[in-house]
Symmetry: C2
Subunit: 217 residues, 2 copies
Amino acid sequence: MSAGAQLLRVQNFMLSVDGYGTGEGQSLERPFGHADPAVLAAWAGATASWPNRAEPGGTRGLDDYFTRDFANNIGAEIMGRGKFGPQKGPWEDLEWKGWWGDTPPFRTPVFVLTHHPRPSFALSDTTFHFIDAEPVDALRQAKAAADGKDVRLGGGVSTVRAFLDADLVDAMHVAVAPVELGRGGKLWDSPDELLDRFHCERIPSPSGVTHHLFWRR
Amino acid sequence: MSAGAQLLRVQNFMLSVDGYGTGEGQSLERPFGHADPAVLAAWAGATASWPNRAEPGGTRGLDDYFTRDFANNIGAEIMGRGKFGPQKGPWEDLEWKGWWGDTPPFRTPVFVLTHHPRPSFALSDTTFHFIDAEPVDALRQAKAAADGKDVRLGGGVSTVRAFLDADLVDAMHVAVAPVELGRGGKLWDSPDELLDRFHCERIPSPSGVTHHLFWRR
């Protein structure tokens, strides 16, 4: 990999200790199914850099570095359709514009992988594109849109798995929370599954999560 | 402190395990005196984000997050004269333009504290200003120049001490390397000295340094 190459990076991906990124039964009311996203995200929510802070303050320790790195040198995101919304199959209408309200936190082009494309639209400084593409082609489009910067792979679990299986992921940060989910969308049985292809550091945070940092061997 | 306030942050300050940031006997040939800066900086030099990498590669683990955060939301730097150069007293000439060659790594306005001001000059996208000011006034000038972003306090040791003594530091990252220096410029006898005013996390890195993260109580 040459210096200055554009990377595909997983940033701040939240996982249970038993390997689940989402619970079972996603719906409009429960984007993470039976899982409580506030528990998985508690480590980030406590930091000063958490974008949705209701009031000033917050910690500036280890977890804050990961939280504030979310957008660092990122020029585009790729996400699965399940991260964009709970609908399945053909779009019944185009009213749904994601979970994030009028100002999504991405602030770059976002490529949503779906077998049911729909027209692109912009919300604040985020533009959503909908593409029916294999991982390698989606990555090519996202890199072209990223203005020389890296591409973030936003999830969910099956999308991260697809890009890992295609060997397209350059670096990956997974924050493993001390909670068991038991069922749902699983990223791994053990992070050791990735050690043949990736270096891995496991950094326990005072907050209770363990940051797993992977990069290509 | 309100959300969006400009902070004064110490970033990637390198220290020996016995509390020294520089050795004894600074000179043109030895900017850190008897200390070997390559040893103090080894943790950062191994990372993918180290700006002076001679070849591609490098680690993307914990140490890389700190290395790549160096410029994150920083709009100006304040440094002591000893960080800018080895000269003492009145400037004998103005040929000296810092240790960093034609492209200093700061890429913002830099305010050099000195009792012997000289004209400002620019090198690439860094502009050096020389001011004879108390910490509180220097910080006011740097914040005004930082375009709404934070100000980095670059050192050396006596400059960091002066701003700590004036209670102007909001957040501080000190990377303590597993090496003893024995003498030189000392930041602390123990990081515990700061616990009355700061939260502190100590995060051991696989590289052998221990990252110390402080933020205001």
